[in-house]
């Protein structure tokens, strides 16, 4: 999908046109067009094997596209070697040099660009301070924790002031607490240095938290490009609806009965209110059904409800007053699901496309 701001004159930090990559018989990337604006935090989101990492590796120069072009700042770099491109990568496993100190790791890019020793030491120390690792320079990577290595990898890339920073699931190896902390830090660093970030992840929450825009990948193609709110509240395809959040789809007969129109429709779980069936109030917009599953998730409770019209919806209720123990008894109960009509949205009907798998609703 071509970005909406494709007017003449604007140069993009990254511009991909018709990008395709085959490995033998496998098509990893199948025709990707994408524009990344200067200073933007753009996330490539998708399940493993959807081609997002391969796209990143083609931007970095580690893979040669089978077809299509990669432009950086308006210059075609498709056939240039990685060391001839003004991008730097933060690798998934960090790829720090084990035989060098932390300082030498960070100063490496400056060293190969023949920056003087004193100057590069100063800038490397500055970069280390920027990721809150001042004083760690003399250590070796093996003496650092996962989160510290992660920040060294970041400093090593940022010290070169690249036009674009590529991040390949950089938070994947960290535990939850550290990951959430690094999400906030990464975003702050990006705002501070003003460098374009292209960030690869399979974690939809991470994508929604950090990105200016998200490109959702499936089967080697881009399903949708948009702001986190676009992608979450107005998913373009059933796949996006399912992958970003819970799918909650109403199609066919269920759509006709509940929504009153044809097509495939969706409602986000947190927009659905759950009421006892005997509450009457028949005028409200919604559907009747039976509770199949009650899942306590701490701050909220998730109800999986089989609708009488033959579909399944997930409803999320904040645990404002009730605790899980009170609601456990609702399993098997008759309920009414109620939501406001404006919270329904239509998702493009792509059920005929076999490349787009719609995941089952997660209880």
């Amino acid at each position: 999908m071509v970005g909406a701001h494709d007017q003449d004159g604007e140069t993009f930090a990254v511009r991909l046109r018709g990008l395709r990559k085959e490995f033998g018989d496998v098509v990893a990337v199948d025709g990707v067009d994408l524009d990344v604006r200067d200073g933007e935090f753009l996330t490539l989101l998708g399940p493993s094997g959807s081609g997002k990492t391969t796209v990143l590796r083609m931007v970095a120069g580690f893979e040669l596209p089978t077809a299509g072009t990669v432009e950086l700042g308006g210059v075609d770099v498709t056939r240039r070697a990685p060391f001839e491109r003004d991008v730097n990568t933060v690798f998934q496993d960090y790829a720090l040099f084990p035989h060098m100190t932390v300082l030498d790791n960070v100063a490496y890019g400056l060293r190969v660009k023949r920056v003087g020793r004193r100057e590069r030491t100063r800038r490397a120390e500055e970069a280390l301070a920027g990721v809150r690792l001042a004083g760690f320079g003399p250590r070796t990577p093996s003496q650092l924790s996962g989160g510290q290595r992660q920040r060294v990898a970041l400093a090593r890339a940022l010290v070169n002031r690249p036009r674009v920073l590529l991040l390949d699931e950089p938070l994947g190896a960290l535990d939850l607490k550290l990951r959430e902390q690094m999400q906030v830090e990464l975003k702050a660093i990006q705002r501070q240095v003003g460098i374009t970030f292209v960030f690869v992840t399979h974690d939809q929450e991470e994508a929604l938290t950090m990105s200016d825009r998200i490109a959702v990948f499936a089967g080697g193609r881009i399903e949708q490009v948009g702001t986190p709110a676009d992608v979450y509240e107005r998913p373009a395809t059933p796949f996006v609806a399912g992958f970003v959040g819970t799918s909650n789809l109403l199609a066919g007969e269920a759509a006709r009965q509940v929504v009153g129109r044809d097509g495939t429709w969706s409602v986000r779980p947190e927009k659905i209110r759950i009421e006892r069936d005997d509450d009457g109030a028949d005028g409200a917009h919604g559907a009747r059904g039976t509770v199949r599953e009650v899942v306590y998730v701490g701050s909220a409770t998730r109800f999986v409800v089989d609708l009488d019209v033959g579909s399944t919806l997930v409803a999320l209720q904040q645990n404002l007053q009730t605790s899980s123990m009170d609601v456990q008894g609702l399993r098997g109960a008759r309920v009414r699901l109620v939501w406001r009509p404006e919270h329904e949205f239509r998702v493009a009907d792509q059920a005929t496309d076999p490349a787009v798998a719609v995941p089952d609703p997660v209880p």
Partner: protein
């Protein structure tokens, strides 16, 4: 691992027995090299360094040591170059016949030494029409030394993977700079460990040497073999054997240390 007290004692005793079986004869050789008695009465009544001084002054021994070192140095140098190149080819590239190549490369170490030796003798003399010399010995040794270097290097290359090199290129280093600053430093330890092992292996090789050396070329193991039956040479043989033990142990110890720097791998 935890086990019952009895199991631990049993395993401990078995291990001690096994180690004693291997190492007690070696220790006896070393002690006997200091035994003052010419007939090696046991236990030794007096210790002396007389045999060591005598051996050090023995021109045939000194010549044999020198020959062994020359052969081992040449064999190791050849093995270092070929073994490392082979490791790159087999670990980094996918090509038709890769599996077969891998097998062919490591096979020489598994082949019976006497067969390799015979094959080389025939090959050098009748096939290539070469005169046997120090060079033929060194080249024959190099065939199994290559395997050692290759195994060490290939294990290291597989473990490090391509990530450090990709990171280097990503940070602006071209192919040569990447090799100089990243690839080679990461491989150096494995190459050194392989070279030390290869040196030790070549130094005490006898079968291949016997078949590929011309008359008159005497390496240290051959010297021992030739002087074993002469009673008046017995003290010197003991000293030479003790020296061989030391010369074999030191490289292997060092290679363990070097390879252990970042967890050892791929040693035979």
């Amino acid at each position: 691992m935890r086990g019952s007290r009895r199991a631990r004692w049993t395993f401990g005793a078995m291990m001690a027995l096994g180690l004693a079986f291997v190492y007690v004869p070696l220790v006896v050789i070393v002690i006997n090299s200091f035994n003052a008695s010419t007939v090696f009465a046991w236990p030794p009544k007096d210790l002396t360094t007389k045999w060591w001084v005598e051996t050090a002054g023995n021109p045939s021994v000194r010549h044999a040591v020198l020959t062994s070192v020359e052969v081992a140095v040449v064999a190791t140098a050849v093995a270092l170059v070929l073994g490392t190149l082979l490791a790159f080819a087999l670990a980094r590239y996918r090509f038709f016949g890769l599996q077969a190549m891998s097998l062919l490369v490591v096979l020489p170490i598994a082949l019976p030494g006497i067969v390799t030796a015979l094959a080389f003798r025939t090959g050098f003399r009748t096939f290539l029409g070469l005169e046997l010399s120090l060079w033929t010995v060194a080249i024959a040794h190099a065939t199994f030394c290559v395997v050692i270097v290759h195994n060490n290097a290939v294990a290291r290359l597989r473990r490090t993977g391509l990530a450090p090199e990709e990171a280097s290129m990503d940070l602006g280093a071209d192919g040569f700079t990447t090799f100089r600053l990243v690839t080679f430093p990461l491989l150096r330890g494995a190459m050194l460990a392989g070279a030390l092992l290869a040196f030790g292996l070549s130094f005490d090789e006898i079968v291949v040497t016997l078949f590929t050396a011309p008359p008159g070329v005497t390496t240290l193991p051959i010297w021992i073999f030739q002087n074993l039956q002469r009673p008046n040479q017995a003290p010197t043989v003991n000293v030479v054997a003790a020296v061989l033990v030391l010369i074999s142990v030191v490289p292997i110890y060092l290679s363990q240390r070097v390879a252990g720097e970042s967890t050892a791998g791929g040693r035979i």
